[in-house]
């Protein structure tokens, strides 16, 4: 069996539930989160030296060794990784990201040619060492890249970003929040009992863009103001 190179990361990693649940599955012993998860679960979240969750530490942890005096007395001392504060430019996000970062990771970022390349590199070792903060940034970057892949269209003399292309060819130029608001006006009229916004949100926030458009189509919504 191959020896795990990053055993220090994997040995103490917080285990996550990787099952994909469906409607009708047993809820026995399953904790349902109160709020929607904004970022996918990270498989290698550190349980020790948790400070590394707040920066790009590259899997470096605090180590202990003994100092030994001339008379042979041994004392524990700590070796902390060399951490510096840095503002790193993200090409995709188009902004500086202020973070704590180890000098070793700074060197790696240089070698990879930028923060985006460092984070989006698809190797198991990178996934293990990027840490929770890196994982969150990676999600943000990849989502932005997905959006950048969508076209920009001109409407009323202005250039608009397309957020969603529906299977029937509709190019939606508004985001999820606007779609939810449009759907709310129909959904609240569709019930005999008053429907509060937060209650509506609890039921509909997990829907995808495609599903939201489908629901609006069900109410015969006029898409002209929000499509190109």
């Amino acid at each position: 069996m191959l020896r795990e190179k990053y055993w220090k990361v994997t040995k103490y990693a917080k285990p996550i539930d990787e099952n994909i649940y469906k409607a009708g599955d047993s809820a026995e012993g399953i904790k349902i989160p109160l709020k929607k998860k904004l970022v996918p679960d990270y498989k290698y979240e550190a349980m020790f030296f948790k400070y590394q969750n707040r920066g790009l530490y590259g899997g470096l942890e605090r180590k202990l060794s003994k100092t030994c005096s001339e008379s042979g007395n041994k004392n524990l001392r700590a070796h902390r990784p060399n951490i510096v504060r840095a503002s790193l430019w993200s090409e995709t996000l188009g902004r500086l990201i202020k973070t704590k970062v180890s000098t070793k990771v700074l060197k790696t970022i240089d070698r990879e040619g930028g923060l985006d390349n460092y984070l989006t590199k698809d190797k198991p070792a990178r996934t293990k060492t990027m840490g929770l903060k890196g994982w969150k940034l990676k999600y943000e970057i990849l989502k932005q890249q997905e959006l950048n892949a969508l076209p920009k269209v001109e409407k009323d003399g202005e250039l608009k970003q397309v957020y969603h292309i529906h299977p029937d060819g509709k190019q939606v130029i508004v985001g999820r929040t606007r779609l939810l608001k449009e759907l709310y006006s129909f959904a609240s009229r569709d019930t005999y009992t008053p429907l509060a916004w937060d209650k509506f949100l609890r039921e509909h926030t997990v829907l995808t863009m495609e599903e939201l458009v489908n629901r609006l189509e069900h109410y015969k919504y006029d898409f002209t103001p929000i499509t190109a």
């Binding site: 539930d17 994909i20 649940y21 469906k22 409607a23 009708g24 599955d25 047993s26 809820a27 026995e28 399953i30 349902i32 989160p33 929607k36 998860k37 904004l38 970022v39 996918p40 679960d41 989006t120 590199k121 698809d122 990676k138 999600y139 990849l142 989502k143 890249q145 997905e146 609890r202 039921e203 997990v206």
Partner: protein
């Protein structure tokens, strides 16, 4: 009021034995010199159950030391505070001034029973032999083994045996009858509930009623996930990186690998080669090993064969 101690009262249990003795001596300095000395038995050393006490009221004991040495007497009472027994044969006569006379006292001399400490007696028992002659058994030590329900005591009593002669059981004595007087409650009336404690600590409802009143079809008891709940648990997925997308596209473009059956010629050729090699083997141990190996089922091999057949 045993068991209750006032706030600033001395706790003799916490004293060292010498200090305890000193305190008791000072405390009883003004007592009549003829009265027995005061003693204190720490709480931890007290014998509270029959199993620990080993003697009970009505038992026979053989006195080994002090007044009445060599006598076999009946226990009148057992004192938990002194861990000693009293009997009518061991007593002290004390001269009491007339001002301290008790009701009905006729003489200056008063009989005070003396405590016989545990070290000064041994448990005895009376029995008759085949000829009907009475004899006594004196137990150096007693062991308790098992329990049996004693209707006279109305409880489970340990069984007493003479140590190292464990066929000899010493039964517990019959306890004295409790005489009923005008204050005592009859046996049936004891179980009748005449008072109920009003407290919020205890539920007025009988056990199990609440679960019957509650809604068994409550949505909180439904142990099945809804669509929204399942999505909440699953959370978002990490989008695929460019490299991954390229790899997946390449893989999708590749034609599906199809497994086909070997032709007969090739099968024969391979079979011939294997047979030739196996026929060369002369070592019986290796042959047995190969025989056993041929019976082993390899799941991956079976899967591949299934794929070929389909």
């Amino acid at each position: 009021m045993q068991g209750f101690r006032k706030r600033f009262q001395r706790d003799l249990d916490k004293y060292v034995p010498a200090l305890r003795e000193h305190y008791l001596k000072r405390n009883t300095a003004m007592n009549l010199p003829t009265l027995p000395k005061a003693t204190h038995l720490p709480k931890a050393e007290k014998r509270l159950t029959y199993r620990e006490q080993e003697v009970a009221k009505g038992d026979l004991i053989y006195i080994t030391k002090g007044q009445g040495k060599g006598k076999i007497v009946t226990v009148e009472s057992y004192s938990k505070d002194r861990d000693s027994v009293y009997c009518s044969e061991v007593y002290q006569e004390v001269v009491v001034p007339k001002m301290y006379w008790m009701e009905g006292q006729q003489s200056h001399l008063l009989r005070i029973p003396l405590a016989i400490p545990r070290a000064n007696f041994k448990l005895a028992a009376k029995d008759k032999d085949e000829n009907g002659k009475t004899y006594y058994v004196v137990a150096d030590e007693v062991v308790m083994k098992g329990v049996s329900y004693d209707d006279r005591y109305r409880q489970w009593m340990p069984r007493r045996f003479v140590k190292h002669h464990e066929s000899v059981e010493i039964p517990w004595p019959t306890p004295p009858d409790v005489k009923e007087d005008y204050l005592s409650t009859s046996q049936d009336a004891v179980l009748e509930k005449s008072y109920e404690l009003q407290t919020i600590a205890q539920s007025p409802l009988p056990k199990g009623v609440l679960s019957e009143l509650r809604n068994p079809h409550s949505k909180h008891k439904k142990r099945v996930l809804s669509e929204m709940e399942a999505r909440m648990i699953n959370g978002p997925k990490m989008p695929l990186s460019t490299e991954q997308k390229i790899y997946l596209a390449k893989k999708a473009a590749q034609p599906e690998k199809k497994l086909s059956k070997l032709s007969e010629e090739v099968e024969d050729f391979i079979g011939q080669k294997v047979a030739d090699h196996l026929n060369k083997i002369t070592n019986p141990a290796l042959k047995t090993h190969l025989e056993a190996l041929s019976n082993v089922k390899v799941p991956d091999f079976e899967k591949t064969i299934k794929k070929i057949e389909h």
